[in-house]
């Protein structure tokens, strides 16, 4: 630990070491430094550099420190991936003839989609998916399964494509967000299959036809998570910190004059 402490002592600015270096080493030698002392010397060296360095150097050190800290911190966060599938919805021709116009037909289809959504995203269905695929292993040790299922439900999106009142026969998307891109893809594909299968099994007042239009996507990039953007944010935060330190240093110098 003495060697490490001596190494950290060499990180003090050269001008400071010219004045205090020898006596500081003597103190380090006598003190038999612990890990805490080594950390204390490192902290002292960084502080001394920041408080005595030039304005430009201070900004540079703080900006680099900010960028590196933010980049390192970004690894503590789990990125999330979103997969989506698109299912087309059509009325058989005879049903379209029976309906009271396109708007009424669309409304009937939307009602069926809503019913199917409740069944596909029921607690039992989602519980089965969570257990079969081993989803949320950490969360399941910390919270009740029903809470985990509720958490999963919030990460599933079912969105109608097209207007209720337009003449366009709609489709709808099914999406799932998860930290693992392959799992996000597989669960989305499974949900899509569930919609199609349950539609066949469930009797509807207005029977509709569901078909896979676009298979579940395999997401390549995480949602809104970019380490380089985070590092850039850290760089600007570091610059701001550097400006603050330079300002405080100036105030202290004025106070000692």
């Amino acid at each position: 630990m003495k060697r490490l402490t001596r190494f950290f002592a060499r990180l003090y600015p050269a001008s400071w070491r010219d004045r205090y270096g020898d006596e500081f080493e003597a103190v380090v030698d006598q003190a038999n430094p612990s890990t805490r002392d080594a950390a204390d010397v490192l902290k002292g060296a960084v502080t001394m550099r920041l408080m005595t360095g030039s304005f430009g150097k201070t900004l540079l050190i703080c900006a680099m420190a900010g960028a590196m800290a933010a980049f390192a911190l970004s690894f503590a966060f789990q990125p999330s991936y979103q997969s989506e599938a698109v299912i087309s919805v059509t009325l058989p021709d005879n049903e379209l003839e029976k309906s009271k116009g396109p708007a009424a037909a669309n409304q009937a289809m939307f009602d069926v989609i809503e019913t199917l959504t409740q069944r596909v995203l029921s607690r039992n269905s989602l519980t089965r998916i969570v257990l079969e695929r081993g989803l949320y292993p950490v969360e399941r040790t910390r919270m009740p399964l029903e809470d985990v299922v509720e958490m999963m439900r919030k990460r599933i999106s079912v969105r109608i494509v097209g207007s209720k009142t337009s003449h366009i026969i709609p489709a709808f998307t099914v999406g799932f967000v998860y930290p693992d891109r392959n799992v996000a893809h597989d669960v989305t594909a499974s949900l899509m299959s569930s919609f199609i299968d349950r539609n066949v099994d469930t009797p509807h007042t207005t029977p509709i036809r569901l078909q896979a239009l676009y298979a579940a996507s395999l997401p390549l990039k995480p949602m809104g998570f970019n380490r380089w953007w985070i590092a850039t944010g850290g760089l600007f935060a570091g610059l701001l910190a550097g400006l603050t330190i330079a300002f405080v240093r100036r105030l202290r110098r004025q106070a000692t004059v």
Binding site: A9, E23, E25, A26, R36, D37, D40, V41
Partner: protein, 97 residues
């Protein structure tokens, strides 16, 4: 005045000392162990303000003793008076509760 600077000034109030001697003295009277970095941060600031002064170092000894200057003594006295006032007020209020 930050705590380490107050501790260093208090340590020098009864005589000149080098860095390690200050560390030991502070540990004895305040129960606080200042790390070398913290100690020399305080020494640097105090010397910049002219409240302490480094004395001559002999050829055989790298350790430099420090002494309290007249300015430093004046500031220490003011700080001690302020702390004493706070301590008296707190003690009185605790008794009345």
């Amino acid at each position: 005045m930050t705590d380490p600077t107050l501790l260093v000034l208090s340590s020098l109030a009864d005589g000149d000392k080098h860095g390690y001697a200050m560390m030991e003295d502070i540990q004895r009277f305040a129960g606080v162990r200042l790390g070398p970095g913290t100690l020399y941060g305080a020494i640097t600031r105090l010397e910049e303000r002219g409240w302490i002064r480094g004395l001559h170092v002999s050829k055989d000894d790298r350790r430099r003793p420090y002494t309290l200057t007249a300015e430093g003594r004046k500031h220490l006295e003011a700080e001690v008076a302020a702390l004493a006032q706070i301590t008296r007020t707190a003690a009185r209020r605790l008794k009345t509760v």
